[in-house]
């Protein structure tokens, strides 16, 4: 790995961490607000109750924010990196690093919270992580494609993407919870979901790679 590649990887790693911290800080703020507004009994009890909601919101945000941050990439952050001498190949790998860093950082914190609050969201969280990873390259594709279309289309696309992400996330959460509570075997569903997600991820990354190859500074 050359020096420039290492620098690009480090840059995107830091970007992914910053984005994860931003989302976690936002989640912490919502949790605290919920605790203070909807206090029922002691603050500690309220906090423990609200952690469950926070984990759910955090799961949605993994999916939504990874999509949105990726849409920004080709037109903003990646364009800056390209203008400062970064190679397109390193930008592509960097985006993967950034997205994985973002998703996994949030996942680790949420898993820790789920463990502390004794919430049974592990499988659901894994589902969100997988979906969140798939939304990353999809966001890149959208970002490349809408470069020339304009701001209104960007906003509409992001809103549609956000709605789609939230809807899909909810379906997965409800379906998985239903499986868990009804005692149905989830293994087949989970494996099938992961396989489909892996195929989609690969296809989307391949498409994003081809779009990235000819990108220019915006």
């Amino acid at each position: 790995m050359g020096e420039l590649s290492k620098r690009a990887a480090k840059y995107y790693f830091v970007q992914g961490t910053k984005q994860a911290l931003f989302v976690l800080a936002f989640l912490a703020m919502i949790t605290v607000l919920n605790c203070l507004v909807f206090v029922d009994g002691s603050v500690m009890d309220s906090l423990m109750d609200n952690i469950g909601s926070s984990i759910r919101y955090g799961s949605y945000m993994i999916v939504l924010c990874n999509f949105m941050f990726s849409v920004y990439g080709p037109n903003w952050y990646d364009s800056i990196a390209l203008s400062l001498g970064c190679r397109r190949k390193d930008i592509f790998i960097g985006e993967m690093i950034k997205q994985v860093m973002f998703v996994l950082s949030d996942f680790i914190v949420l898993i820790a919270l789920a463990t502390v609050a004794k919430q049974e969201y592990i499988i659901v969280l894994i589902g969100f992580v997988v979906l969140g990873l798939v939304m990353g390259p999809l966001g890149l594709i959208v970002g490349h494609k809408i470069k020339r279309i304009g701001r209104i289309v960007v906003l509409v696309t992001i809103m549609v993407g956000a709605f789609f992400s939230a809807m899909l996330s909810n379906i997965i959460a409800m379906r998985t919870e239903a499986f868990i509570t009804e005692g149905c075997p989830v293994t087949g569903v989970v494996i099938g979901f992961i396989i489909v997600a892996a195929v989609l991820y690969t296809l989307f990354e391949f498409w994003a790679y081809n779009l990235n190859k000819k990108s220019m500074v915006v």
Partner: protein, 292 residues
């Protein structure tokens, strides 16, 4: 000496050819001026030479090695271009310090101490967001990135746009100092030709996607003349030469001549003066009239 070379570069956007079979050679260790009218293709050419924009056709190499996606080649080049205060998603909320940190992350030879010196010199508040900077401050930031990158080949695209006269003079002084100390190659694209001309060793003139001239500035100016006098006398004296921007005032006439080689004498009856780069370029833009 290294050579950044672009051969037979064509760049098309749809049916429009922005660059038409352009070939250019940049020798390291010199200061180049790149001048041309708005829309001539300067920025497109520079972005293709630095692999920030793919060419439709053509080959760009540095010491024979391709520049495109080549880490070794790219590590020698800095193309500091205008920063946009607006992105597709709204105002550019990146702070100056974040932008400079990104530049530091990518430029291997980045000189942080020099960057801090330049920030102080140009009086830039690095905590300010890019969207809040004036045009002059944006130019100052691009200059800081270009100079602090310490890249062997440093390209500045209209670096003095929006700068006041004091800042412009500071910039020219900085380029000369940096060039004297390090021998870095600078390619400066500018519309303020008169001020910057004293920096240039070599000049590239581009017009409508084609390179018109690419040579040593002193040699170019040594064969450029402003010939004035009585109309008949001027016509006779400049017969057979390439003439630009003829202007008549009563019985008198003034023309700009660009000869193939230095001319010893245009004969009697006419006044001959040297031409500045700006006036030569202006005359070229006004149009050529070839005498039979």
């Amino acid at each position: 000496m290294s050579i950044l070379s672009g051969k037979n570069i064509v760049k098309s956007y749809g049916k429009e050819n922005v660059l038409k079979n352009v070939s250019v050679e940049i020798e390291t260790g010199k200061i180049y001026g790149l001048i041309g009218r708005n829309g001539a293709g300067k920025t497109t050419l520079l972005s293709i030479l630095t692999a920030q924009n793919p060419a439709s056709q053509g080959e760009i190499t540095l010491d024979g090695k391709p520049v495109w996606e080549n880490e070794e080649s790219l590590s020698h080049i800095c193309y500091s271009r205008e920063i946009s205060p607006v992105t597709m998603f709204g105002p550019n909320t990146l702070k100056v310090k974040e932008y400079l940190a990104t530049a530091r992350a990518f430029y291997i030879n980045w000189d942080e101490a020099y960057a801090k010196e330049l920030i102080k010199l140009f009086n830039i508040d690095i905590k300010k967001r890019i969207s809040k900077l004036s045009k002059g401050m944006l130019s100052a930031v691009t200059i800081i990135v270009a100079l602090a990158s310490k890249a062997d080949i440093t390209i500045l695209d209209e670096p003095v746009a929006g700068l006041d006269v004091v800042a412009r003079e500071q910039f020219y002084k900085l380029v000369i100092e940096e060039y004297s100390e390090t021998g870095r190659t600078f390619i400066i694209s500018t519309h303020i030709i008169e001020e910057a001309a004293s920096l240039f060793e070599k000049i590239i003139i581009i017009d409508k996607g084609e390179i018109k001239y690419q040579e040593n500035l002193d040699e170019l100016l040594s064969r450029a003349y402003r010939v004035s006098g009585d109309t008949d006398a001027v016509d006779k004296a400049t017969e057979g030469f390439k003439i630009y921007n003829p202007e008549s005032l009563g019985r008198n006439k003034v023309v700009t001549v660009l000869a193939d080689k230095p001319v010893e004498s245009f004969g009697e009856g006419v006044q001959v003066e040297p031409v500045s780069l700006q006036n030569l370029f202006y005359a070229m833009c006004m149009g050529e009239r070839k005498e039979a």
